[in-house]
């Protein structure tokens, strides 16, 4: 089974490093980025399944980053991490393609749970894509016949 890779994007350095330590203890590899720009850059190098994205960041903010990620890497699942305990920003994120949202302060367990749900979703999606592609490459005998005519 493919191992899940997560990237946490937040402007709080200490949050990143502590979470990284915690997850590595659980045997999960966590990539981190301090800004939206850095996150996009790292996405180019790594195959990342789930991105956990802080909504409020200096520079490129969470929403912009989300849209950019979805544009460039549509298969990447994004979970929004919001300091605003409001449905508004969550709804806006979900509309822009986020898979789920989390409210700060969030438990690590909760965070992992949501990440895994997202990963499952992605896996299902990839499966569907694979099936579809297989169908496309496996042509029916009738089609082959038609092609030879």
């Amino acid at each position: 089974m493919e191992k899940m890779t997560i990237m946490l994007v937040d402007d709080e350095e200490r949050f990143l490093s502590t979470t990284k330590k915690l997850l590595s203890r659980k045997g999960i590899d966590l990539l981190t980025a301090l800004s939206g720009a850095e996150a996009l850059e790292r996405l180019g190098f790594h195959d990342i399944h789930v991105v956990i994205l802080d909504v409020k960041m200096p520079g490129m903010d969470g929403m912009t980053t989300l849209r950019e990620i979805k544009r460039q890497y549509p298969l990447t699942e994004v979970i929004m991490l919001t300091g605003h305990a409001t449905v508004e920003s969550a709804v806006e994120g979900l509309k822009s393609g986020a898979t789920d949202y989390l409210m700060k302060p969030a438990d690590i367990e909760e965070l992992l749970e949501k990440a895994e749900e997202a990963f499952e979703k992605r896996k299902r999606l990839e499966e569907k894509i694979r099936v579809a592609q297989t169908r496309l490459s496996m042509k029916s005998p009738r089609e082959i016949l038609r092609e030879t005519e």
């Binding site: 203890r25 300091g83 305990a85 449905v87 969030a106 690590i108």
Partner: protein, 561 residues
Amino acid sequence: MKQDRYATMKKTILACMILVPVIPFILVLGVGYYYFTTSLESSTISSMKRIIEDHRQMIDSFLRERKADLEFILNSYSYDTLADPERLSDILTQLQKKSSAFVDLGLFNEDGIHVNYSGPYQLAGMDYGQEDWFKQVVKEGYYISDIFMGFRMLPHFIIAVTRADAEGKRVLRATIDTHTFSGLVKKVSIGKTGEGYILNAEGVFQTERRSGGNLMDTDPDNLRHDPDEPGTKTFTQKDLRGEDSFFATTWMQEKKWLLVVRQEKADVFRDLRSAAYIIALIAVIGGGAIIVIAFYLTHRIVRRMEEMDSEKDRLGEQLIQAGRLAELGEMAAGFAHEINNPLQIMKSEQTLIQTILSDLKEKGRIEESEDLAELEDSVRQITLQTDRCAEITRSILRFGRQGESEAKDVSLQTFIPEVVAMIEKKAGVHGIRIEQELARDAPPVYVDSTQLQQVLLNLFNNAIDATIDKHGVEGGEISVEAARSDDGKVKITVQDNGCGISSESLDKIFSPFFTTKPVGKGTGLGLSICYGIVGNMGGIMEVSSEQGIGTAMTIRLPPSG
């Protein structure tokens, strides 16, 4: 300061309300009185003029006729006939049949000897040769005398005519009855005091005057009418008693006699005066009514203004309070948001500590000890307190932004019992009775039912806490009422008989973080959130409370539609 302003305003309004109707009122009365007086005066004067003209003609023609009578006799009968006492007596009788004014008749020769006389006196044979009238009649041909005493010592006047022919010069004289003559002008009667009389050129009465003045007395009024002035003269003059009178005078009988018509002014204006009394009475009553109404209305207006001003002040204060609350809410929301980041880190750190601790224990690198137990307890406490912080920030954020709400028509008659059902059990445990009074005409409200439920639950919970504080587990009472209020809004009141709220707390009751509950029991956000929610619904929330007696929380919401 404010009272001064109201006093000034009151004075201004009062002055306007009194002066504006009173000034035209007085002007109308004044102008009306002036024109009415003037027209009455001129009509009185013109009627006096008419009367005097009529009477002058009448008297002139009377004198002319009497003179013609005598001339006729003198021309018709010979001297001898007239000198015969019996014939003269016959002629007098004939004459008196025609005019009762004739008293006697006498014939004089050219020397002034009274040749023949017929009448009540014994005057025959007397010599009148030196009398003024005789000289005049001989000279002028006729003579009409003023009233005089003469030989008989009685006031009378005479008409005499003369004739000269072959038989010589003779004079016929008749005495005119002063009563009959006086009667001509005495008939004049206008109003109560209007009268007519005749004066001679020296101002001596030729007829009796009704208001006092005997024949041959001098007129005390001393009227002045220049004989050269033609026609009728009218004027006003004070009489001897000091009464203002209208006079009309005209000369007649070759300017020897002055005909006077007189009426007292007071008499002329008598009707006007009684009208004036009525008008004055109306003016007094009307003016009084105006003043009373002005006072009443001014009082009402100023009172209303005071009320409106205080209402305005109250609204202003409410607005400031609402603004302050909104500002505080924004600030609190921003603050809560910022706190969430450090809280997130603290949570992560604490999780890490716990993970490491349990790892160490598992691997046996740390022994179970009292110190370890204390450490673990401490870490648990950190978890607990961090969660508490998180709960607070969430509440603040909920207060700051209500987020999306889905409004729909909510019927209070069914909605409130549903909410009551949710807390009935909790109330019942503490012996609290809940009463519902839901007016049937209370209209539905257009709100988010979840939010309204949150507000009502909050109010109920507060009420329950307050009654438990006061009564323990018995005797608590909570009532919820819904009704249409006078201003057309829908009023929901939750009232309890709990411990009440002190007046200093009452001012801060809707402020965030204000709580009277012990530390850790309440965030102090409940009512401020409710306040925010109700505000968003377009309603207002009010509180009234008396310490030790109870509290009533009232929500006023606009009706749907």
